[in-house]
């Protein structure tokens, strides 16, 4: 019984982890149809922000929950103004330009902080025990934060006027701009928010994974496959794909080991895309958010 609970929790953490690293990417992709290949580097920058701030004496929670999203959000807005906005409607060029950006960020961070791991910080909050097994309390917190983040995004999109304008722009940008919405500003804000959420995710994961200039590569493969498998709907897509892929990965990893877990994740995603080329929400629940 304890074993089931412990394994279940581990799988749940895997799912939450997947959703956390994918949400920022999903927002930018779902709203703007821009695939941000610098996503992994946004996560990396969030991680660095936390590590540097914590080493400078800033409270860890402030660094993770406020500084990381703020810094990366600002970087996101700058990137959107300088680079992305010239490329709207040219999907492939956007893809290439953000890839260049990703290399650029890796280069800059390597030049400043060196290629090896920056001073790491240990995860706060000790452990909780489930019968004879223990689990990190910080992982539990991450699950909670992921759920809270999902709910927050849902509420912003559904309840606020910003969310309404954003959804309108997403559905029909031309009509929205004819009705007096500054679509360019909506895109800027959306990109900034997507970047901020990526920064938050990177900051939250920094104590678990440590930070490296190239750590983005660890995340992006999983984040991409989750977003693509999820399809266009931001929340439903990310949630359903995370549950499916994270679940498969967790179960396979528990039964055989982490290597097979990743293979199972990839194979599931490929089979899924063969059956539903436009992702889960391209096939099922189309009207969802």
């Amino acid at each position: 019984m304890d074993l089931v609970a412990a394994v279940g929790l581990q799988i749940l953490y895997g799912i939450a982890n997947l959703a956390l690293i994918s949400l920022g990417l999903a927002i930018i992709f779902g709203m703007m149809r821009v695939i941000n290949l610098a996503h992994g580097e946004f996560l990396m920058l969030g991680g660095y922000t936390v590590v540097i701030a914590a080493n400078a004496g800033v409270n860890l929670w402030v660094a993770m929950l406020i500084l990381a999203p703020l810094v990366v959000g600002v970087i996101g807005v700058v990137v959107e103004r300088l680079l992305i906005r010239w490329l709207y409607g040219r999907m492939i060029d956007t893809l290439l330009a953000t890839w260049g950006l990703s290399l650029l960020f890796i280069g800059i961070v390597t030049s400043i902080f060196g290629a090896s791991t920056a001073t790491t910080i240990s995860p706060p909050l000790g452990v909780v025990s489930i019968g004879e097994y223990t689990s990190s309390a910080y992982e539990l917190l991450l699950i909670g934060i992921t759920v809270a983040l999902g709910i927050a995004v849902f509420l912003v999109l559904k309840m606020t006027s910003l969310g309404l304008v954003a959804r309108g722009t997403m559905q029909n940008a031309e009509m929205a701009s004819a009705l007096g919405v500054s679509t360019s500003r909506v895109y800027m804000i959306t990109f900034g928010i997507g970047a901020a959420i990526s920064g938050l995710a990177g900051g939250l994961l920094a104590p678990v994974t440590g930070v490296l200039p190239t750590i983005g590569a660890v995340y992006i493969a999983k984040a991409f496959i989750t977003v693509i498998s999820g399809g266009a709907a931001i929340l439903a897509g990310t949630a359903s794909a995370s549950v499916l892929l994270g679940g498969v990965n967790g179960i396979a990893a528990f039964l055989t080991g982490p290597t097979i877990g990743e293979v199972a994740l990839l194979v599931t995603a490929i089979v899924l895309l063969r059956l539903m080329p436009r992702g889960i929400t391209g096939g099922l629940f189309r009207k969802s958010l």
Binding site: I92, S102, L104, T110, A221, E262, R274, P277
Partner: protein, 375 residues
């Protein structure tokens, strides 16, 4: 006529390649030759993406996956067979087979451009993290350990059917350069066949090609598989040039590099990406000798600048300039002839009005240009 000029151009380039192959070893030092072998392997990889992306219009961001699979398959097969002859064939076939599986899922699932790019990239990255985990004696194929992140030492190429005669690095250079020339001739022949032209038409307008009755999925799968085979060959050459194969062949940096060669060299040409690969290889090795500027930084800037500023790539842009210059010169020559005819007599004056409408309201502009014409 254009086609004939095209064929002549291809043969001329191939001849330059053969000439280079014959002369280089006697002019250059051994160290440079060994380095060149690696650069040539990368050029073959660039060629494979030039075919798949430039002609097939398939945005494959993980072309290095097939390259890496080729390198691993060659190494593992050569260790198990105790000779390289069959191993080369196995490497190419494994890369093609892998591409057929991935390609079947993508093309028959109607996965479009950007999704396709992300999926291929993801496949490459997942292979990277997968192979990195395979250290330890549990992971082996036949006699060959997979070696985790340290990789495997690749046995060098030997003479066909004679495993005891192992080629020296300077001989491997001949093999690599020869393979590059053959691969170049093969791919440019392929783009001129019926198959190749259908692929280009699919790149230009997929719906129209489909309505004309071509099975778009099959053609895409075909060119994708051929490209993977060429990339697999590149992998074989690469692990011979470097002497070992590590999981780094699958990493993001190499995936980006492959794309950058093609962007810089130019989509829609075969020689452009090859030159792009050589150029960037020497740029990155020059950068590697100093430590102030980071490699990633420079590559990132190159990629961004090219996407924003030279989206067509160097070779097509240059070709465009030359064509524009040729047209301008022809126009100028025609204008000069007209002016001469007009100056000679009133006969021209009758059709002068009609002809004047042709070159447009270009009276003043023509005069301005006329001043420069005698130069």
């Amino acid at each position: 006529m254009i086609l004939a000029r095209d064929v002549r151009g291809t043969l001329a380039i191939a001849a330059v390649g053969v000439l280079f192959m014959l002369i280089a070893p006697s002019v250059l030092e051994l160290f440079t030759i060994i380095n060149l072998t690696t650069a040539i392997a990368l050029a073959v990889l660039a060629l494979s993406l030039a075919l798949v992306w430039g002609y097939g219009g398939i945005l494959c961001f993980g072309q290095n996956a097939f390259f890496g699979i080729g390198a691993y398959a060659y190494t593992i097969a050569a260790i198990n067979f105790g000779g390289s002859s069959w191993a080369i064939l196995v490497a190419i076939l494994v890369a093609v087979a892998f591409a057929v599986v991935i390609g079947y899922v993508m093309f028959y699932g109607r996965v479009s451009d950007v999704y396709l790019a992300v999926i291929t990239l993801t496949v490459s990255l997942i292979l990277y993290s997968l192979i990195r985990r395979t250290s330890g004696p549990d992971y082996k194929i036949g006699k060959s350990l997979l070696g985790g992140f340290n990789g495997i030492t690749s046995p060098p190429i030997n003479l066909p059917w004679d495993p005891s005669f192992v080629l020296f690095p300077e001989h491997v250079f001949y093999v690599a350069m020869g393979a590059l020339v053959v691969a170049y001739l093969f791919t440019s022949w392929l783009t001129r066949t019926h198959f190749g032209r259908v692929c280009v038409s699919i790149r230009e307008n997929e719906l129209r090609a489909e309505l004309l009755g071509y099975d778009v999925r099959l053609y895409k799968l075909g060119i994708f598989a051929v490209g993977a085979g060429v990339a697999g060959l590149a992998g074989v050459l690469f692990c011979n040039g470097v002497g070992r194969v590590t999981p780094d062949v699958f990493n993001l940096y190499n995936a980006a590099l492959t794309i950058i060669w093609v962007i810089v060299g130019g989509r829609g040409t075969l020689i452009g990406p090859i030159l792009g690969a050589f150029g960037l290889f020497y740029l990155t090795s020059a950068l590697g000798t100093q430590s102030t500027v980071n490699n990633n930084l420079v590559l990132g800037i190159i990629l961004v600048v090219f996407v924003l500023g030279v989206p067509k790539g160097v070779i097509p842009t240059l070709a465009g300039w030359m064509a524009a210059r040729r047209t301008r010169r022809a126009l100028r020559a025609r204008e000069r002839r007209m002016r001469l005819r007009r100056a000679r007599g009133g006969g021209g004056r009758n059709d002068g009005a009609g002809a004047g409408a042709g070159p447009g309201g270009g009276g003043p502009a023509g005069a301005g240009r006329g001043a420069g014409a005698p130069e």
